[in-house]
């Protein structure tokens, strides 16, 4: 009796989160999935029934393909820049001494402390036609250029807010490293750079990959930043879903796009997960 109760206690303990998961995540997801198969009528909206038309339209219409392609591109570029900037930053951070380390960690985290709306309007002001950057360009004699409503603006703002999600996992795996292992590499005659590329980097690869996954997932499904900095023309998948729901009122179409985005994200995540499992499990545990 007691033993049985003990055995099942983990199940009881997960009940609250399980309930939350079912009610808050699975229910809307299932409803979205069902909705995506509904037929759509111009006058009446979703009218039930079953059709694969919306999915077909998304994968055959150049308009949607371009949006998906752009989303993939922006997601990958954001991830890449976050890796290139975030990994060295995390490394330097982990080498800092006491008072500075926590200070700079705080600075890294600040984008997360500012509301997305405030942060994004900050970027709009900075990049605007009359903004300080363009004024600097003028002062340098280059003339004004359109910075806002470009992919560059979206990527810059995404990198800004996603960096902490890259730095934290990398920093965590750096914390777990034995500093003597890097010293060992040096003692065997490796240069600083070789020690980093051959000894430090491979060990923090799982951290980089999980950071990359988080960044890619969040960037590919980001909504507010492309909405505010991409303008009407530069659509990403999440903003398109929004448009379908609220402007076109084509809910089934919006639902299909959302489902495809979810699936695409899942495929990327699972692929990376397989790589991590296969490559690093045996070595790093």
């Amino acid at each position: 009796m007691m033993a049985a109760a003990k055995k099942f206690s983990p199940v009881w303990l997960t009940l609250p989160s399980l309930a939350l998961f079912l009610v808050m995540l699975m229910t809307p997801l299932t409803l979205t999935l069902l909705l995506s198969f509904n037929e759509y009528d111009n006058m009446k909206g979703a009218v039930g029934g079953f059709t694969l038309d919306h999915y077909w339209k998304v994968i055959s219409d150049g308009f949607y393909l371009e949006i998906f392609w752009r989303t993939l591109k922006i997601g990958l570029l954001t991830t890449l820049i976050c890796v290139v900037v975030g990994v060295p930053e995390a490394y330097i951070l982990s080498r800092m001494n006491r008072p500075w380390r926590s200070l700079f960690l705080m600075i890294v985290l600040t984008p997360l402390l500012v509301s997305v709306v405030v942060r994004t309007f900050g970027w709009s002001m900075l990049l605007g036609f009359e903004g300080p950057i363009n004024q600097l360009f003028v002062a340098l004699g280059w003339g004004k250029s359109r910075l806002l409503y470009t992919e560059g603006a979206v990527i810059a703002a995404l990198v800004h807010v996603m960096l902490p999600f890259m730095i934290i996992p990398v920093w965590t795996s750096l914390q777990k490293l034995d500093p003597q292992v890097e010293q060992a590499a040096l003692s065997f005659g490796a240069s600083r750079l070789t020690a980093i590329t051959r000894v430090v980097l491979p060990q923090i690869m799982p951290g980089i990959l999980s950071g990359g996954l988080i960044v890619f997932g969040l960037a590919a499904s980001s909504f507010a930043i492309p909405g505010l900095l991409g303008g009407r023309r530069l659509k990403m998948v999440a903003t398109t879903v929004y448009d379908q729901y609220l402007h076109e009122l084509n809910w089934p179409m919006g639902a299909s796009i959302a489902v495809i985005l979810l699936l695409a994200n899942l495929v990327v995540m699972l692929t990376c997960h397989r790589v991590v499992e296969g490559q690093y499990r045996r070595r790093l545990g």
């Binding site: 003597q180 292992v181 010293q183 040096l186 003692s187 065997f188 005659g189 051959r198 045996r282 070595r283």
Partner: protein, 326 residues
């Protein structure tokens, strides 16, 4: 010109002197052990030679060149870390091969030398394992192979055999000694095992609280310890009371003999006896206080507790420590 020279080497952590004014000259091809209790500064000394701990004061000279502040990767030493510090993402062979790759040794030559080094530490069958798939002793041997394979002019070993069983440890001690004699590698080994220090080293450096207490051959350290502390650290000892005003006298347990009651210098009663395999170890009570005696197990019957025996010794084996040094 000495091969390696430590000149008043000092490391301070805040107010703590981890290493204080350590001076030592090592000749080419010498095998030196740093011996001392836990926390006495052995690792810190070694890490300063390796270049991972910045000396607070003093100098390190390698073949006449001042390397006190030279970067670690310019020193070309072979090191076994106390924590092994293996590369966890590389196989055993990859770990051992790393130093050779840094020296741009050709692939075929590398394979041959890695194989040889792994055979030396009895790990040739484990070349494709990852460190986390090995036992503590196996990891330690990988660390040893990794340091030996590059045939460095100076080998720094931080308790390289601490995790091995008695038999393997003896075999590795033999190999270390062998390499040192054949290749002429100068070796500095940290240990807190006095038997190990004695059996392999040319000279032993005894440290206590960051300071060097004695530098001598193993025999001298054992037979003529400079201080009371060393006398106790490198073996067991009996304090023999002497007349007031005279220095304290010591004698080692194996220098005492058990004889028939009344025919020794003093009579004693067997309080306890322990069997150590090759020896019997006795606790005796006598007019001189507690005495410990070890007797080789030559097959004769041991003394039973409660027996009264005589204790005999040669006066020449009695040691006195200089006043003030104890």
């Amino acid at each position: 010109m000495p091969f390696l020279e430590l000149d008043n080497l000092t490391k301070q952590y805040g107010h703590l002197y981890a290493v204080e004014n350590v001076s030592l000259t090592v000749e080419q091809g010498e095998f030196i052990s740093l011996l001392g209790p836990s926390g006495c500064g052995k690792t810190t000394t070694l890490q300063m030679i390796a270049g991972f701990v910045e000396a607070t004061a003093g100098a390190i000279r390698l073949q006449g060149r001042d390397i006190t502040h030279a970067p670690a990767n310019s020193r070309g030493l072979g090191i076994v870390f106390q924590s092994y510090a293996l590369f966890p993402h590389m196989t055993v062979a990859g770990n051992v091969s790393f130093g050779l790759e840094m020296q741009k040794v050709s692939k075929a030559e590398r394979a041959r030398r890695v194989d040889h080094a792994l055979t030396l530490v009895h790990l040739d069958a484990y070349a494709d394992r990852y460190p986390r798939e090995l036992s503590g002793g196996q990891r330690q041997r990988v660390a040893l192979a990794r340091a030996l394979v590059i045939q460095p002019p100076l080998l720094l070993l931080d308790e390289p055999l601490s995790n091995l069983d008695a038999k393997l440890r003896e075999a590795m001690q033999f190999e270390l000694r062998n390499i040192q004699q054949q290749v002429g590698t100068t070796t500095i080994m940290v240990t807190h095992d006095q038997a190990e220090a004695f059996s392999v080293s040319d000279r032993v450096v005894v440290m206590q609280s960051g300071k060097v207490m004695q530098i001598d051959t193993p025999y001298q350290v054992y037979e003529h310890p400079a201080t009371d502390f060393i006398s106790r650290f490198v073996g067991k000892t009996n304090m023999i009371p002497s007349a007031p005003g005279h220095p304290q006298r010591h004698i080692r347990p194996e220098k005492l003999r058990l004889v028939a009651a009344g025919s020794g210098r003093v009579n004693a009663t067997v309080a306890e006896r322990f069997f150590l395999g090759s020896q019997w170890f006795y606790h005796l009570t006598s007019d001189l206080g507690e005495l410990t005696v070890t007797i080789p197990n030559d097959g004769s019957a041991p003394q039973a507790p409660g027996t009264v025996v005589g204790v005999q010794w040669d006066e020449a084996n009695m040691r006195t420590l200089a006043e003030g040094r104890a």
